[in-house]
């Protein structure tokens, strides 16, 4: 079978960037298969998509799409490529049917062919009842399906999907996989870009990128197979799980250690000779099936940090078992839309509490109310024993908040950001200098002190944002999607810091849409359509999804089961 896309030594530079967005990438994308374009933000995924679609010119190397050049033969190729950009590329003030009609007109799908195609696509995407609704009023999952339907008009032979699964609820994500799988079976070549590595693992082929560098091309299981015999699960009781984790992570022979439900999951570094194959890790540990992320960690060289210096920065808070965050029927409406609907939470000191849910479910709204940034419409919220309705400013002094997309001052240098945020939290004089020095060491920021925050690599922006949130030694840390789009090594480092903070008695509340990250939390709350549909320890939630067919459900399975059970 002839390949759909052949990429040879492709390089693309952007004038302002020091490093190439893509550096000598080669790959073959075959028809009838889903090829995952995987990697963290800034890996070059979107650039590659645009190059394949003929929207950008390569600096060197070549791309052939069905044997043609995407730039020179654009006119010929546009009819056979369907492209769904990030955020789905829909006109929000046009209705479902108007969006479809526009794309049908642009792609010469007319007359009877149009009627048939519309009927088929509306059935396929289950949007037939919503044709008159404005695209802007659709849920995330429905937007995603409409975006796909628009990209499918004109019967493309190559379908480019740029991060279609981001922030969509797990049921919609699962449906999208089924639909795209059907399309692949019909012989369409599909490129699916993603920052979720569990999603990448499900593709037929994978092209793994990191900072413009190609790391791997081929079926994901071949890469994952390299980790066979190097993954172990070690059951550890909850009370000393985090201490044990820190201890294990600092051992040189260990590549990576993470918390997974009641176990610590350990990866062993590759060793020369045959001993690695028979490595018996420790008594009580059981071998585990490797995952794609494990292989990615292996390529990147494993987690770099052992212990976090954050323990030396934060004041120790006596663990008195008090409830530090409490809400009662917390509700917020915007016009006729209820963004958070009677949310009840009780979080104890020293807990990590995760809020899990798709975009638009109400995570950030709940968060902002708990930080005193948004006034609740009704209900109560208390943080660190202070009623947020009456004295939000006083509560904020005890809170550290890291906003989505890291609310740093992009035009200020790292040092100026640190000085500003420490000052804003009331630090001054020697105390301020000590705090800045301490976080500079802890987050390895010294080399970047003179650089503007905007120019930092993504991982360092995230480190700086966390540094700014902890300088005043808060009792509670609110982290709003702190790790989205970040490579697994930096993510691991980030969680090391969180674990260190918790050991000092800090209470951490975090939102995420990474299902696996939810397992690092002591308890999680599932938010769906503005309601808290379930809350509890990760293992408890997963055990609710156990069925005869599925004895070991994943977090995603649990989420789907609980959504279905909630009847929302």
């Amino acid at each position: 079978m002839s390949p759909a896309v052949t990429i040879t030594d492709l390089t693309r530079l952007f004038p302002a960037a020091p490093k190439p967005a893509l550096d000598r990438v080669s790959a073959t994308i075959r028809t009838g298969r889903i090829t995952g374009l995987a990697g963290p933000d800034g890996a070059g995924k979107t650039t590659l998509m645009r190059l394949i679609a003929g929207l950008l010119k390569p600096d060197s190397g070549s791309i052939r799409v069905f044997g043609s050049d995407p730039v020179r033969d654009a006119a010929e190729l546009r009819g056979v490529i369907g492209y769904m950009p990030q955020k789905f590329g829909l006109y929000e003030d046009l209705t479902v049917i108007e969006n479809l009609t526009l794309h049908a007109d642009l792609r010469a799908v007319v007359g009877r062919e149009r009627d048939e195609t519309f009927a088929r696509l509306l059935k396929f995407t289950d949007l037939a009842h919503f044709t008159g609704r404005l695209a802007g009023k659709l849920s995330g999952g429905m937007k995603q399906k409409l975006g796909l339907a628009c990209a499918l008009l004109g019967a493309p032979r190559l379908l480019l999907l740029d991060e279609p699964g981001v922030g969509v609820d797990p049921i919609s994500r699962r449906e999208l996989w089924r639909m795209v799988g059907d399309l692949a079976d019909e012989g369409i070549a599909i490129i699916w870009s993603t920052a979720y590595l569990d999603e990448a693992e499900r593709c037929d082929d994978i092209l793994l990128l990191n900072e413009g560098q190609p790391l791997y091309a081929g079926p994901p299981r071949d890469l994952t197979a390299r980790m066979n015999g190097r993954c172990f699960l070690l059951p550890v009781p909850a009370e000393n799980r985090r201490i044990r984790l820190a201890e294990l992570a600092s051992r040189p022979e260990i590549l990576d250690a993470t918390i997974q439900a009641q176990n610590i999951r350990v990866l062993i570094r590759a060793k020369t000779g045959s001993e690695s194959a028979h490595f018996k890790f420790e008594t009580g540990s059981a071998p585990a099936a490797p995952r794609f992320e494990d292989a990615f960690m292996d390529i990147l060289g494993g987690a770099k940090t052992g212990a976090s210096a954050l323990t030396h920065i934060l004041r120790d808070i006596p663990r008195d078992g008090a409830t530090v965050i409490e809400t009662r029927d917390l509700t917020r409406t915007f016009g006729d839309f209820t963004a958070a609907d009677r949310i009840n939470l009780k979080i104890k000191r020293g807990e990590i509490y995760g809020l899990l849910g798709p975009n638009g479910a109400g995570k950030s709204t709940t968060f902002r109310m708990l930080c005193g940034l948004l006034t609740p419409t009704s209900g109560e919220a208390r943080a660190a024993g202070i009623d947020l309705r009456h004295s939000p400013a006083r509560a904020r002094q005890r809170i550290g908040y890291m906003a989505q997309k890291f609310s740093l001052y992009g035009q200020l240098t790292v040092a100026q950001n640190l000085a500003f945020f420490s000052g804003a939290y009331g630090l001054h004089g020697a105390g301020q200098r000590d705090a800045i020095d301490a976080v500079t060491n802890c987050f390895h920021l010294a080399q970047y002190h003179g650089i503007k925050a905007d120019a930092l690599p993504l991982g360092y922006k995230q480190r700086l944002a966390l540094a700014c949130a902890v300088m005043h030694s808060p009792h509670i840390l609110f982290l709003d999607e702190p790790t989205s789009g970040i490579d697994p090594v930096t993510r691991r480092e980030f969680w090391t810091h969180i674990n260190a903070a918790v050991q000092r008695g800090v209470t951490v509340m975090v939102t995420t849409h990474f299902m696996d990250e939810a397992e690092y939390c002591d308890r999680i709350g599932l938010i769906h359509r503005s309601k808290l549909i379930a809350a509890g320890a990760p293992e408890d939630l997963k055990s609710q999804a156990v069925t005869d067919e599925n004895r070991h459900p994943t977090m995603e399975d649990a989420f789907i089961t609980l959504i279905e059970r909630s009847g929302l």
């Binding site: 645009r50 003929g54 950009p85 003030d93 526009l102 642009l106 990209a151 019967a155």
Partner: protein, 396 residues
């Protein structure tokens, strides 16, 4: 789901397709109608601006507050003072000392003041006898001080006081039965704007500003929005050609702009009583060419930036402010320094201001209109041509 045969290759997309063009125009029109901001910018803002320029800004002065310090107690001085007070253009306030009157000027309580010095009547009489003897004339015996920080008003004060002075001298000469000093009397007649109401030229001028906002700001914003929402990528990866895309941004906004032009003229004429003496054809022709020029500017801005905030800032600086300052709408171009005059030649608003003011006040004065039409045609070709050249099909 069934696919059609894969080998069916669709027609090459490089030629202009009326179907695609119509679909894009339809989409654009729906977006205009459904987006509250475009309705606000296109229909509410113009009417508000018309009323602000029509009633809020007034370049005419009513009665100017003017101080009077009379140091002479002679009947001559009192007579002149009362004639000043009787002037319909001056509101005279009497003061009794120089410090008090200076203070009043500093505090902007008055716009200028007249001093009648203590030797007023002596000097006056001396001058009159010198005049009778055909000898050289003595310097004027009154002093006028005006507030130079507002030159326009200062000129008014000077003009009114001078007028009152000459009037008084003439009356005085006549009442004495003397051979009056050569009766040089100025009689002002304003052509084209008989009432000399600034509203009559400010409102047509402000239509220029409104059209600039719609043409440049709105187009720059809507294209930036397509980039921000990712819809531009979806369009560019479809078989749409550059010409279809550009035209689909020009045509709907052209019609919107023309509707607004007619709406503004209707409001100005029927509600605010501004005359429009021109005939429909030149109004539509000038309006069309001007609108195409500013649409070109808007599209050019959108090729430079893909962010709504930046594009609105740029539109403000390259379209709105020049239309305000360098178009001759508020400030006379002929009194600008040469380099700035040179810059103003590529500002389409300049030609449209002249054309629409002519059409409103004079009528179809073809020599003026022809010049404006030629230059507007040039600017529209310039800006649309630049846009066509710079718009890249690709994203770089």
């Amino acid at each position: 789901m069934k696919q059609e045969p894969k080998h069916k290759v669709r027609k090459a997309a490089s030629v202009f397709s009326f179907r695609r063009f119509r679909a894009l125009c339809h989409k654009e029109t729906l977006q205009i109608i459904r987006d509250p901001t475009s309705i606000l910018i296109a229909f509410i803002l113009p009417v508000v601006m018309l009323f602000i320029y029509g009633y809020g800004i007034n370049l005419d002065t009513g009665r100017v507050r003017t101080g009077l310090l009379c140091e002479d107690t002679s009947p001559d001085a009192r007579q002149f003072a009362s004639s000043l007070t009787g002037s319909p253009s001056l509101h005279i306030i009497a003061y009794d000392s120089l410090p008090a009157i200076s203070e009043a000027l500093t505090r902007s309580q008055i716009r200028g003041f007249v001093i009648i010095p203590s030797d007023f009547s002596i000097k006056l009489r001396r001058a009159e006898s010198a005049l009778a003897a055909s000898a050289s004339v003595e310097p004027a015996p009154i002093q006028l001080i005006t507030d130079g920080s507002e030159p326009n008003t200062a000129n008014f004060v000077q003009g009114y006081v001078l007028g009152a002075w000459q009037n008084w001298l003439a009356q005085r000469a006549a009442s004495r039965g003397l051979a009056a000093p050569p009766a040089i009397s100025l009689e002002n007649t304003f052509w084209y704007n008989p009432a000399a109401e600034s509203r009559n030229y400010l409102i047509p001028g402000s239509i220029t500003i409104i059209m600039t906002v719609i043409g440049a700001l709105l187009t720059a914003l809507v294209i930036a929005r397509e980039w921000e929402r990712g819809t531009m990528e979806a369009l560019l990866s479809s078989p749409v050609t550059r010409a279809e895309l550009l035209l689909s941004k020009i045509i709907p906004y052209y019609f919107l702009g023309m509707i607004v032009l007619l709406l503004c003229i209707a409001v100005a004429h029927y509600l605010m009583g501004v005359p429009f003496r021109g005939s429909p054809f030149p109004i539509l022709a000038c309006g069309s060419l001007f609108l195409l020029s500013v649409l070109g500017i808007g599209l050019l801005i959108s090729t430079a930036t893909r962010n709504q905030f930046n594009s609105s800032q740029i539109a403000l600086f390259v379209a709105f402010l020049p239309a305000m300052m360098l178009s001759g709408f508020l400030f006379e171009i002929s009194s600008m320094p040469a380099p700035i005059r040179a810059v103003s030649t590529i500002i389409p608003a300049r030609y449209f201001v002249s054309a629409i003011q002519t059409l409103a006040q004079v009528g179809d004065a073809w020599p003026v209109l022809r010049r404006s039409l030629i230059f507007l045609a040039c600017t529209s070709v310039l800006f649309l041509g630049l846009t066509a050249k710079l718009t890249r099909k690709r994203l770089e």
